[in-house]
Amino acid sequence: MSTGAQYVVAVYGVVLFGLLMYVLVLGLRTARLAREAELLARLAEREDEARRAPEPAATP
């Protein structure tokens, strides 16, 4: 490949790399969202259970 062509490939490679980096950022963000959603789901389920089960007597 001529040196000129190498530079052209480098440019398109950089652009592609940039896009892939963005995909990475998206992935990390989605992972965080999923984590938070999971935590909130568990919190909501725990609340539901606490409300359904009668409150244990504070003093025996």
């Binding site: 052209v8 440019v11 940039g18 896009l19």
Partner: protein
């Protein structure tokens, strides 16, 4: 946003963009004629310039939505404005990097001060990096208001920067768009247009993805507040 329309819109935009990108790459490498003077290096041009214009488009959108925010004080306008700036900066970084590679290919050094576009985009990067510094220095309503004002002022600075570098009359850069129209043959011009559309498509796609992410984030936060209040 509890319906499927944003998702469907995103799918449409993304698919169109993917198709345009494939078409552009094919056209640039297999159909467009090679430039007589610069040879294959000129092919860098198609995406370098398209991304540059895409970056400016992003900053224009940011400016427009900044103005809209000042009128409406609607948080969603600020969201669009700041997202657009982020994408604009991402594109600007690509412009500077690809421009540097082009400089190396054309003139042998990794940086030149005589190319107005390269220098302008360096200034643009600094200009909009300051946007985020400003944003993090304020909170709440003030953050959105200051960001909107700065998005307008910064956008005014862009042509001023470009012309000041141009007026400093010492560039070697081959001018592609002259006052008499593009001095590129049509066979190249058409692929340039396709590349530009592809980049605009990328901009729109990323905008939609970002805005969707932010909404998801906000919705989760609302749930969190509710659950913590009920606890």
């Amino acid at each position: 946003m509890t319906d499927a329309r944003p998702g469907r819109r995103l799918a449409a935009t993304a698919t169109a963009t993917a198709a345009l990108t494939a078409l552009a790459v094919y056209g640039v490498f297999f159909v467009a004629p090679e430039d007589a003077d610069q040879g294959i290096i000129q092919k860098i041009f198609y995406f370098h310039v398209a991304i540059a214009i895409g970056s400016l488009l992003a900053f224009l959108v940011a400016c427009v939505y900044g103005i809209r925010y000042l009128r409406s004080r609607d948080e969603r306008d600020d969201e669009v404005s700041s997202t657009a700036v982020g994408i604009g900066i991402g594109f600007a970084i690509l412009v500077v990097i690809t421009g540097s590679i082009w400089a190396k290919a054309s003139w042998g050094t990794w940086w030149v001060w005589t190319d107005p576009r390269l220098v302008t985009f360096l200034i643009v990067l600094l200009l909009y990096a300051a946007y985020f510094v400003l944003r993090s220095s304020a909170e709440g309503e003030r953050r959105m208001r200051y960001s909107a004002i700065y998005s307008i002022a910064a956008f005014a600075s862009v042509p001023l920067s470009f012309y000041s570098v141009r007026v400093a009359r010492s560039f070697v850069h081959p001018v592609v768009f002259t006052q008499n129209g593009a001095n590129m043959p049509d066979s190249m011009l058409v692929w340039f247009a396709v590349s530009q559309l592809a980049v605009i498509g990328v901009f729109l796609t990323i905008m939609q993805v970002e805005l969707l992410q932010r909404r998801a984030d906000k919705a989760l936060r609302r749930i969190k507040l509710r659950l913590e209040a009920a606890a």
